[in-house]
Symmetry: C2
Subunit: 414 residues, 2 copies
């Protein structure tokens, strides 16, 4: 189907979806979960084609693993859909309502955005997850996944469409762009007449392409060059434990710590333990001269190191004279995702919270908590590192907009 | 100054402006108001140059009037600044704070966006207004006004910078792009490293150019092809009075009514009075065959008429069989700004509020109320017709973002 036609039908579907009740939506989502399980064989067969193609094209093992579906993974995807069904529906909530002196009652109501475009890479679970979050919030969705996962995605979307039809809901609530060419992706990014918002999910390259080519508003989900600053008064054990967690608990995630900044007055106490812990975990350290003075195995850090989100067992480190230097360094190199200070000092904690310009700023906790589930949202569509609309972990509310509903009795403007 | 350099300095200024207290900001704004009055002569002299250039270039009288400053208008601009100084400052408000089961205290705090770019046309009052709103919310601002007003804008920005310096606040809080070429404007729209958000203020052409060329997130302030639907059960007098107000109270504004939709069952009652009122006000009507049956002076309406924001004494009209047709027509042709239903029917009022996809939806009131001041915000930076970040009239809050501030005591992620 032509993209324009898809957009047109999705927009019409979105108009009709405004009338869906919470129970109607949840019945559909439950049906999707059930049908995913029932059709496991067909989904696995489609996925096998993608895996075979990947193997033929020498896809690296890590990517093949992301692409691969198993019975267990399909169960997990179905569980995810059921969890979304169980969440509170934000649509229809009136956030505020005030009477004006002229008697007009002005309310601000949470409503669906309309049509959401999602552009993503090779994980087929995103297909179901993105649909479920958009559908829960009464949005139609146009999905454009990677060519690597096209057979899996077609099988998954076919199960979703069938589940919708079984429940008399328009199957145009979801579309998959089957033509995975670059031209079609670029066309989709400029389909302003039909798509209200674009959300790219994937690596830095994908996100940059979308930001630079889209004329539709984009919610930028971001890379995380996250910092931990160990202040002069930090508890040394706490600092080491938080760095270990933030750097090493999971490597390939955007909320992992990639860079350390250490106050010179605590360096003597904390560096030996910190470096020992990192060495024990086979984590490479790239530091400035002051860091290298503690261990000559530390590799000299370049500006590029300070700019890098390693997503690997590598961490950069710098020793500073003051908290001002620390804040300046972090605001300079950070991608605005998550940063933490480890301190016992009240004023420094407050300064760090105020002056660090990132989506999530922590005192005495691991950056790994920046996550929709950890924040208690029950879901996550991504983590926004831009400042418009949503910043930080995005749950269902990020997929809504508001409109003003105004109740009058004949008022005219004087 | 080079645009890149301007962006860099503005970004640095924005970082420092985070530390400004409410009283410090209000003292500066009050000084701006005072200095505008004190320097009226210099401002008027600069404005005279712009007016002379405009006359030389045969600028139409309406545009010359927009461009012209007078002592009275400068007083009004200064009053506007004082009013902004008197408003509550939204910065620093913690919107929510919750403790998670692991003891993390997660708060969501309103903070400045950073650097805001404003691209606008020939009204010099926007220069002061946009600066004041951005400064009140601790944002640095880069202003790019039209070439027609460049001398006025330079004089106004010079007064603002002087007022900031007098109060030991960085004058880099505001920049005026003095090179008003298209190339520089396009460059500004892609200054992603330094500008966080772009707000275009002006006509449809300007807004379209910004939306299509910007890689920075844009808040689209919009054109208003606003509708009034007169339902079968409407009070006829109320309908006529609201249409008169919405169409004619002020012609050149985005919340003026441009199109009528009338239910056939009330057409016989309402059309004679409505057409008489419009004729008396010399307002041209362009309608479908059913409308023309009431008055053969009505001009046949084309699809283009239904799509047009006239901003003039012209209105389009259509008679429909059902509220469904009315809703479909409005959602098809509306620009998503403001629409109203006139009705006594409860269910139809609720359906209209729910199903019309616009920023402000009214029952029994004039669309002219869509305005930051009328909504009680005390200020207005524009009216958003997009769905991300802000929708409808935007006050100070639209110039803020949020960040998560998280208080821990050593938590790591299991």
């Amino acid at each position: 189907m032509e993209l324009e036609q898809m957009g047109k039908l999705a927009k019409e579907a979105a108009r009709r979806m405004i009338k869906l009740s919470q129970p109607e939506k949840n019945v559909c989502l439950t049906a999707v979960a059930k049908n995913l399980i029932d059709e496991t064989d067909a989904i696995l067969e489609a996925n096998r084609k993608d895996i075979e193609n990947g193997e033929k094209n020498n896809m690296p093992p890590a990517l093949l693993d992301r692409l691969r579906l198993t019975e267990e993974r399909i169960n997990a995807i179905a569980d995810g859909v059921r969890q979304i069904a169980a969440l509170d529906d934000p649509i229809g909530e009136v956030i505020s309502m005030k009477e004006r002196p002229n008697g007009l009652l002005i309310g601000k109501k949470r409503v669906p955005i309309g049509v959401i475009g999602i552009i993503y890479e090779s994980r087929p679970n995103v297909t179901v997850d993105a649909f479920s979050l958009c559908f829960k919030t009464s949005n139609a969705v146009i999905l454009r996944g990677g060519s690597d996962a096209i057979n899996s995605n077609m099988a998954l979307v076919s199960v979703i469409k069938k589940s919708l039809e079984e429940n008399n809901v328009t199957k145009d609530a979801v579309f998959l762009v089957e033509d995975t060419s670059r031209e079609t992706a670029n066309h989709m990014m400029q389909l302003n007449n039909y798509i209200d918002v674009l959300i790219p999910r994937g690596g830095a390259g994908l996100i940059k392409t979308v930001v630079q080519n889209a004329t539709i508003p984009v919610i930028e989900t971001g890379t995380g060059n996250c910092h931990i600053y160990i202040d002069a008064s930090a508890d040394v054990d706490m600092a080491v434990s938080i760095v270990e967690n933030a750097k090493l608990q999971r490597l390939g995630v955007c909320n992992a710590c990639e860079s350390l900044v250490i106050h010179k007055d605590i360096a003597g106490d904390v560096m030996p333990e910190l470096l020992a812990m990192l060495k024990e975990n086979e984590c490479e350290v790239r530091g400035d001269e002051l860091v290298r003075a503690f261990d000559n195995e530390v590799i000299p850090a370049s500006v590029e190191d300070y700019e890098t989100e390693y997503l690997d067992k590598i961490i950069s480190a710098r020793i500073v004279d003051t908290i001002d230097q620390a804040i300046e360094h972090i605001n300079k190199y950070s991608t605005g995702h998550s940063e933490a200070i480890i301190t016992k000092d009240y004023d420094n904690a407050q300064r760090f919270l105020n002056e660090i310009d990132s989506a999530a700023v922590y005192v005495n906790a691991s950056t790994r908590f920046t996550d929709g589930f950890e924040f208690g949202f029950g879901a996550e569509i991504g983590i926004s590192t831009q400042k418009l609309h949503a910043r930080g972990p995005m749950g269902l509310e990020a997929l809504t907009t508001t409109k003003y509903v105004i109740y009058g009795n004949g008022q005219v403007r004087p």
